[in-house]
C-alpha cells in the first residue's frame, strides 16, 4: 500500500431499488478506500451488487445513503454535492466496457480523439494525443480502421486508449476481459497495471475471470450487497 491520499473513499454506501414488497437492497453499507496506483478486483456471485457499486463510483447511479469522495472531493453525502457530474466523468473517470462500446461510425483514431474534443482540446492537440495513445497500446497501425473491422483485442485496446485519453485518475472496468482469450486478457491486465503505476490511477475491475486474479493488487468480495472480504491480497 502507498501512503498517498486515497482516490476512492466509500463510507457506508447503501443502494436499494423499489419500495415495499418490491424492495431490493443491492448494497447494504459498503465502505472501502482505494489508493492511487492500485488495481483492485470486485468479485461476487451474480446479483451481489458489483455493477451497482461500479455505477455508483462512476457517478451514474445515485446511492440511497452514505458518503463518497473521489480524488479528495466530497461528491455524495446523502445527496449529490455537485451538479455537473458529466464533466466530472469526462475529466476524472475512464470507463472500459465488456463490449468495447466504440462509436461504430468513427475510426479508431477518432474514437479516441472524440473524448479529447469533448474535454475541449483543439483538433491538432487531440489528434497528436490520440496517435500517441494508440501507439502506446500498440494499435497505432490500425488508427484508420473502423471498429467493425478490428479484432476483439484491438478493439478493446482502442477502448482502453479512449478511457485513458483525458488522463483520468479513476478507471472503472466491467468485465473488461470477458470477450478476450486468456493471452489477450493477460496483456490487457498487464497494461492496466502499468497504467495504474505510471499515471497514479486507481483501477477497479469487476470480474469473474480467475485467470486475472494474480494480476490484481487487492480483491473485494461482495455477497448480498455486503463486502465479505475487505480487500484481501489474492
Amino acid at each position: 500500500m502507498r501512503h498517498a491520499d486515497p482516490l476512492i473513499e466509500l463510507d457506508s454506501i447503501t443502494k436499494h431499488f423499489g419500495e415495499g414488497e418490491a424492495r431490493v437492497d443491492a448494497l447494504r453499507g459498503v465502505s472501502l478506500t482505494i489508493a492511487p496506483g492500485e488495481v483492485v478486483g470486485l468479485l461476487g456471485p451474480s446479483g451481489s451488487g458489483k455493477t451497482t457499486l461500479l455505477n455508483i463510483i462512476g457517478c451514474i447511479l445515485e446511492p440511497s445513503s452514505g458518503r463518497m469522495r473521489l480524488d479528495g472531493e466530497l461528491l455524495f453525502d446523502g445527496r449529490w454535492q455537485r451538479a455537473d457530474l458529466r464533466r466530472l466523468r469526462l475529466d476524472k473517470i475512464g470507463f472500459i466496457f465488456q463490449a468495447h462500446n466504440l462509436m461504430p461510425f468513427l475510426d479508431a483514431h477518432d474514437n479516441v480523439a472524440l473524448v479529447l474534443h469533448l474535454a475541449g482540446q483543439s483538433g491538432a492537440e487531440a489528434a497528436a494525443r490520440a496517435d500517441e495513445l494508440l501507439d502506446y497500446l500498440q494499435v497505432g497501425h490500425r488508427r484508420r480502421a473502423m471498429p467493425a473491422s478490428l479484432s476483439g483485442g484491438e478493439a478493446q485496446r482502442v477502448a482502453i486508449a479512449r478511457a485513458l485519453a483525458n488522463r483520468p485518475r479513476i478507471i472503472l472496468a466491467d468485465e473488461p476481459t470477458a470477450a478476450l482469450d486468456s493471452e489477450r486478457a493477460g496483456i490487457v491486465m498487464d497494461l492496466l497495471r502499468r497504467l495504474a503505476r505510471e499515471q497514479e490511477a486507481a483501477i477497479v475491475v469487476v470480474t469473474h475471470d480467475e485467470k486475472i486474479f494474480p494480476r490484481l493488487d487487492r480483491m473485494f468480495m461482495l455477497r448480498d450487497g455486503r463486502l465479505v472480504d475487505g480487500g484481501a491480497r489474492p
Binding site: 469526462l90 470507463f95 466496457f97 462500446n101 462509436m103 461510425f105 468513427l106 469533448l118 483538433g123
Partner: protein, 377 residues
C-alpha cells in the same frame, strides 16, 4: 468533428435511400405549390397579356371573364371620347372546339380590332395579323405552327404567328383573330337560321355586339378616375386592370387556392410525422452509442446536436432532391407548374422548422437514455 455527419457517412446508402423517399414527398409538396402558382398565372395570363388599363363591360356585370357581358360595338367610340383615354378597342371572347390534325383542339378566341388595344402584346414566332380576314395568331401551347390552316365554323384560317404563355383561366390556349371574323363566328347564324330570323324581322345590325371594350389611358391619368367617369356617364360597368385581376383571382382561383392550400398543409403534416418517425428510429438504433456518450461525459448539447443535425440534413437533402426531381419533370405536367425561388425558400424554412420539431421525439428518447445501459453487455 461532426458526429452527425460521421454517422450519416457510415450508413450512407441507407441514409440516402431515406432521403430519396422523403424527397418524393417533399417534391409533391413543392409541385402542389407550383401547380397553384401556375393556376394563378394562367388565370391572369390573358387579362395581363392584353396590356390594358381599363375594362368596360355590360352594366351590372362582372364580365367579361367572371360573368358574360354583351355591349353594342359602338360603345368603343363612346369610351374613346372619354377624357384621359388614349386608345380603346372592342373585343370578343369565345371558346371554340375544332378538329385539328385528328385531335380535338380547344381554343379561347379573342377577337380584336387591328391597331387598337386588345390584341397580342407580343409575337414570339411569325408575325401579327395583317389582313382583315382569316388570319390567326395562336398560342404556342396549342401546338399550332405558323403557316398551318385551321377550320373554324364555316371558314378556314391561316396561322400567321405564335404567342407564348397566353392561356385562358381554364388552361385553354388563346388564339387572336380580327373582331369582324370573331363576330361572324360568334353571332352570325348559319344561312338557314339567318333566313328564318330575317323572316321574323330581326335586325341584322344587332350582330355588331362585343363582349368588352378595353382602353389604355394617357400618361399621368389614373385608371380609377377614367373608370369612374365611364361608369357615371355611359351606363356601362368599368373597372381597372387591378380590379379585373382581383376579380379573376377571387372568382376563379380562390377555391383552388383553398383546396390546394389544405392539401399542402396535410402533406406537410404527413411529412412531419414521417420525419419524426425516421428520426426516432435512427435514435433507437443508436441507444447504446448515446448511452456511451453520456457515460463518458458528453454534454446533452452534443447528443441533441447529433439528432437535430441529422434531422436537418435529412430534410434539406430530401428537399434538394425533391426540388431537382420536380424541376426535371415539371414540363410534363398537363398544366403549368411554376417553381419560384421565393416558394422554394419559404418551403425550406418550413421544412427546417418541421425537422427541428419532428426531432423532438428522438431528442426526448435520447435524453431519457440511462448512461448505465452502456455498461451492460
Amino acid at each position: 468533428m461532426s458526429l452527425a455527419w460521421r454517422d450519416i457517412r457510415h450508413n450512407f446508402g441507407r441514409f440516402l435511400l431515406t432521403c430519396v423517399g422523403l424527397s418524393l414527398l417533399l417534391g409533391v409538396v413543392l409541385s402542389m405549390i407550383g401547380i397553384y402558382r401556375g393556376l394563378v398565372e394562367d388565370a391572369l395570363a390573358l387579362v395581363r397579356g392584353l396590356g390594358v388599363d381599363v375594362w368596360v363591360v355590360e352594366a351590372d356585370t362582372r364580365g367579361p371573364f367572371a360573368e358574360s357581358s354583351r355591349i353594342p360595338g359602338d360603345s368603343r367610340e363612346a369610351v374613346a371620347r372619354i377624357r384621359g383615354v388614349a386608345a380603346a378597342g372592342a373585343i370578343t371572347l369565345q371558346t371554340v372546339e375544332t378538329l385539328h390534325g385528328g385531335r380535338q383542339l380547344r381554343l379561347q378566341l379573342v377577337g380584336y380590332q387591328l391597331g387598337r388595344p386588345g390584341g397580342p402584346a407580343s409575337i414570339a414566332v411569325g408575325r401579327g395579323i395583317a389582313r382583315a380576314h382569316f388570319e390567326l395568331v395562336a398560342d404556342a401551347s396549342s401546338g399550332l405552327q405558323p403557316g398551318e390552316l385551321l377550320r373554324l365554323g364555316r371558314d378556314v384560317y391561316r396561322v400567321v404567328g405564335l404567342t407564348r404563355g397566353q392561356v385562358a383561366s381554364g388552361g385553354d390556349p388563346v388564339a387572336f383573330l380580327t373582331l369582324r371574323d370573331a363576330q361572324a363566328l360568334q353571332f352570325e347564324l348559319a344561312p338557314p337560321s339567318a333566313r328564318r330570323e330575317r323572316a321574323r324581322g330581326a335586325d341584322p345590325a344587332a350582330s355588331d355586339t362585343v363582349n368588352a371594350v378595353v382602353a389604355r389611358v394617357s400618361a399621368h391619368v389614373a385608371p380609377t378616375a377614367v373608370a369612374a367617369d365611364i361608369r357615371r356617364w355611359k351606363h356601362l360597368q368599368a373597372m381597372t386592370q387591378a380590379d379585373q385581376e382581383l376579380l379573376l383571382t377571387r372568382s376563379v382561383v380562390d377555391r383552388a387556392r383553398k383546396q390546394i392550400g389544405l392539401f399542402t398543409v396535410i402533406l406537410m403534416m404527413v411529412s412531419a410525422v414521417i420525419i419524426a418517425l425516421i428520426i426516432y428510429t435512427m435514435t433507437m438504433d443508436k441507444v447504446r452509442e448515446i448511452a456511451t456518450l453520456k457515460l463518458i461525459g458528453a454534454p446533452d448539447r452534443t447528443i441533441v446536436g447529433l439528432i437535430v443535425q441529422q434531422a436537418l440534413a435529412l430534410g434539406l437533402i430530401g428537399l434538394g432532391l425533391g426540388t431537382a426531381l420536380i424541376f426535371l419533370v415539371k414540363d410534363w405536367f398537363p398544366r403549368r407548374v411554376i417553381l419560384s425561388v421565393e416558394d422554394a425558400i419559404a418551403l425550406t424554412a418550413v421544412v427546417l422548422v418541421v425537422c427541428v420539431l419532428a426531432s423532438g421525439l428522438g431528442v426526448r428518447l435520447a435524453l431519457r437514455i440511462d448512461p448505465a445501459t452502456a455498461l451492460g453487455s
